[in-house]
């Protein structure tokens, strides 16, 4: 099975008890932290249900983009027949398979808006488009046709159906191969991954457009989906590196995951730090240069009343500092330093989502972030716990993948 004399034993394939226990503990701990977050939304200056809604949406956007970043990561591995990632693919799949859980976690957003709560999505109010004097006449028609509740809920159902199908297809087939060892399974996943990529891209774009961009219905940006993809992919690679380290700390994947895998994950993190910045700047410069009232509102909100500090923190924290920090090969091959940057980037991704969502809640000042942080940490803990639990029921390595041996013997220096 493996070249270079690496042989996997049964204990290499099973999750250690201590890790399984951690996974079981993380979910209730996450739930408790999230409940504390809910409570925090109801104290302090901006307290109220609306604060909870926006904080929850921020936390959800943070977690969902990570899970979806995982899905596109998985699709890319298949479409390129990548061998390097086979050893860590199952760990990634355990996160990707959680799209149904993300649907459950979506309910606190969905239920209020189904009950005609339009404090987040103003246009859910039927008369909004007609009464909004700021709408240009021609846009009124577009907004009325696109941003109307019936179509909106229909679209959401459609997105989740596609995403659940994709995540189930690729995780199920991979697990099925553990038993059959059928090479045709690998071919099938390769074949389906190619059309799945554009389908995923459109789904993510429209999901991001509906859930996040429509918070400010006057504003639009055609690069929005790519922006979310860049941040999600970066964060997923960070989370995957941290997960692999956690597995190894508990004695799992000892002979399977090497420095070289971390090196490659680090490279992807580095690449997507740059890509995110490239996309964020592309979005900024066009709007800044044209300075058209209907577009500039987005950055106007985020450059005043304290939000400018959040923006500047993003420029340095999400671009300049990790760019220099992740530049060196040694940083990426050394677990503690890579873990530091992985945590850093996850924090920055949360800040990014906070910067995207929260100015729609209070553009006049920056609200206290504690409710958002607790909700996001709680939700991420639930997702990580669930991923470990789901991984514990099967082999933690895609053990009969034809490229596993190549992956385990992989050098990239």
């Amino acid at each position: 099975m493996a070249s270079h004399g690496i042989e996997l034993t049964e204990s290499d394939l099973r999750m250690p008890e201590s890790l399984r226990g951690l996974g079981g503990k993380l979910m209730p701990i996450g739930a408790v932290i999230a409940i504390i977050g809910v409570a925090l939304a109801f104290v302090g200056a901006d307290s109220g249900f609306k604060h909870f809604q926006f904080a929850y949406l921020t936390a959800y956007a943070f977690t969902m983009t990570i899970v979806l970043g995982g899905l596109i990561w998985l699709l890319i591995q298949h479409v390129f027949r990548a061998s390097w990632a086979v050893a860590i693919r199952r760990v990634g799949e355990s996160v990707v398979g959680l799209v149904p859980l993300m649907l459950v976690l979506f309910l606190p957003i969905l239920v209020p808006i189904l009950m005609h709560d339009d404090s987040m999505y103003k246009w859910l109010n039927h008369s909004y488009a007609e009464n909004d004097a700021e709408f240009l006449p021609n846009k009124q028609v577009v907004y009325g046709a696109y941003l109307n509740p019936t179509f909106f809920f229909g679209r959401l159902a459609f997105y989740f159906a596609i995403l659940i199908f994709l995540s189930r297809f690729f995780t199920k087939n991979s697990v099925a191969q553990d038993e059959t060892g059928d090479l045709a399974t690998t071919r099938k996943m390769e074949k389906f991954s190619a059309p799945a990529i554009p389908i995923f891209a459109l789904t993510l774009t429209f999901l991001g457009l509906d859930l996040l961009m429509s918070l400010d219905p006057h504003w639009f940006s055609t690069i929005w989906g790519v922006y979310l993809f860049a941040g999600g992919m970066m964060s997923f690679c960070s989370l995957l590196a941290l997960l692999c380290m956690t597995y190894q700390k508990h004695g799992a994947l000892k002979n399977v995951v090497r420095k070289d895998h971390y090196h490659d994950l680090g490279k992807l993190m580095f690449a997507f730090v740059i890509f995110w910045s490239y996309i964020a700047f592309s979005q900024y410069i066009l709007i800044w240069y044209a300075h058209i009232p209907e577009e500039i509102t987005f950055f106007d909100k985020r450059q005043n009343n304290g939000w400018e500090w959040v923006s500047v923190t993003l420029i340095f924290g999400h671009f300049a500092i990790p760019l220099l920090g992740l530049l060196s090969k040694h940083v990426k091959r050394h677990k503690p330093t890579l873990a530091f940057w992985a945590v850093w980037l996850l924090v920055m991704h949360l800040l990014d989502m906070f910067w995207v969502v929260m100015p729609n809640f209070t553009s006049g000042h920056v609200p206290l972030p504690f409710a958002t942080i607790a909700l996001a940490v709680g939700m991420l803990a639930i997702v990580v716990g669930a991923s470990i639990r789901s991984a514990s029921t099967k082999s933690i390595v895609a053990r009969r993948d034809p490229r596993l041996g190549e992956s385990m013997a992989y050098h990239n220096v």
Binding site: F281, I285, K329
Partner: protein, 433 residues
């Protein structure tokens, strides 16, 4: 086994005789000991031994990149990344400084109302220059650090090199290494799992370059100076001749230009014009003036009209307000006080930066001078401009110009109404704004 490098089949047949001659007549010198291996694992293991023996002038030759061989050979990490980082930072600095100097210092140029030195606008160029410097430096520094291009190396003429580029692996320990001792090196390599060892001799003197290449080299070098000489001559001399047209049919198109004489077809139209004159009495589309008071704002005797030639109603005033906001307010201000955004910026520039810049502020529309002007004169100013103000005839249709005049009258009225004449309600409403 001792061996000599010899001309091989891959050498150019034209030079083989000459090379043979040189090799036979030249003094032979010990060049290196070469060991041959069958597998990458074998060569890796051998590399570790050679590395541990402390040699420096040696190399492993493999037909493809072998992962992990750097470590096995004890190769130090290349300084290339640091060179590239330095080049990248230099590129970023150069790109940014270039834009700062050209745009904000050397030739201050206002673009889209942004500040002269405006970081966001400069990022793309800075980024590109960074990439350019980094990429070129990476490429050329890589060649330099590898001592490339190498036109000659004794190993190139070693017959076994063909195999080392295809399916065999080799370690070469050169005689110039400080630790080199033929017996010891041979013993080391023999015990390293090699399938064959060779002691390689090479001519002490390199074969001389065939004479013809000297000539070609000199001529080629001189030839590169010719274009430079022409450029230098053109740069420092004057010429009466017209410039060289490289793209003839684009510079000299077979067509007549407006107002140009037509020597070719002289007499066709009865004169020497390139274009035919319109038939007498022709009026171009949209140029027909039915009502001179409306179009020119003047009576037959040339005095300005004193009453509107259009019906003044609320719709007209509203239209005028909108058009005024678009065309006039940038200079005259929304309230007609002459302090629009153009004036504000120009005043600020004149005060802080404009070298020798003079700025005549736009008129205040409630000036007595303008209050006393008849509507026809206001219309005339909108149409044909006045002093610094350009005419708007080309941009604003006749009816809209009258709408603007009507709105200007409304502004004047608003600016001159005495406070006492307002009712309490009106005053309260104004104060609340």
């Amino acid at each position: 086994m001792d061996s000599r490098i010899t001309p091989s089949e891959s050498d150019d047949p034209r030079w083989i005789a000459q090379l043979k001659d040189h090799d036979d007549n030249s003094e032979q010198e010990l060049f290196a000991v070469v060991a041959e291996y069958e597998t990458p694992d074998a060569v890796m293991a051998a590399c570790e031994k050679v590395r541990d023996a402390g040699f420096r002038d040696w190399d492993a030759i493999t037909p493809f990149p072998v992962h992990g061989i750097d470590e096995a050979m004890g190769t130090k990490q290349s300084i290339l990344p640091w060179i590239v980082l330095g080049a990248g930072l230099t590129g970023a600095t150069v790109g940014l400084t270039l834009q700062w100097w050209t745009n904000a210092v050397g030739y201050p140029f206002l673009i889209s109302g942004k500040p002269m030195f405006s970081l966001p606008a400069n990022i793309p160029v800075t980024f590109e220059v960074t990439v350019l410097f980094s990429a070129f430096t990476a490429f050329f520094a890589m060649l330099g650090l590898n001592l490339l291009p190498a036109f000659y190396h004794p190993l190139f003429r070693h017959p076994r090199m063909a195999r080392y580029s295809s399916d065999r692996f080799a370690i070469v320990i050169e005689a110039k290494d400080k630790l080199f001792d033929r017996e010891k090196v041979e013993a080391l390599l023999k015990g390293s799992g090699s399938i064959a060892n060779e002691v390689l001799f090479a001519p002490a003197k390199r074969a001389a370059l065939p004479k013809v290449f000297h000539g070609i080299g000199i001529v080629a070098t001189l030839a590169t100076l010719i274009p430079l000489a022409f450029i230098a001559k053109a740069r420092f001399t004057h010429s009466e001749k017209p410039r060289i047209h490289i793209i003839q049919d684009m510079d000299m198109q077979p067509k007549f230009k407006t107002q140009a004489p037509n020597a070719l077809l002289a007499g066709l139209w009865g004169d020497q014009r390139a274009s035919l004159l319109p038939v007498e009495g022709t009026i171009a589309r949209g140029e027909y003036v039915a009502d001179e008071r409306l179009h020119y704002g003047q009576e037959d005797d040339g005095t300005f009209v004193t009453s509107f030639p259009v019906t003044v109603d609320e719709a007209l005033i509203n239209r005028g307000q909108e058009r005024y906001g678009i065309y006039c307010s940038v200079c005259h201000g929304m309230s007609g006080d002459g302090n629009g955004t153009v004036n504000q910026r120009a005043t600020a520039l004149a005060r802080f930066g404009g070298k020798g810049m003079a700025w005549a502020p736009p008129a205040r529309l409630s000036d007595e001078r303008i209050l006393l002007q008849p509507v026809g004169e206001l219309y005339n100013t909108v149409t044909n401009g006045k002093n610094n103000m350009k005419g708007y005839a080309a941009q604003i249709p006749v009816e809209d110009r009258w709408a603007i005049v009507a709105y200007v009258r409304a502004l004047q009225k608003a600016a001159t109404v005495p406070v006492d004449s307002l009712t309490d309600e009106q005053r309260a409403e104004l104060q609340s704004n």
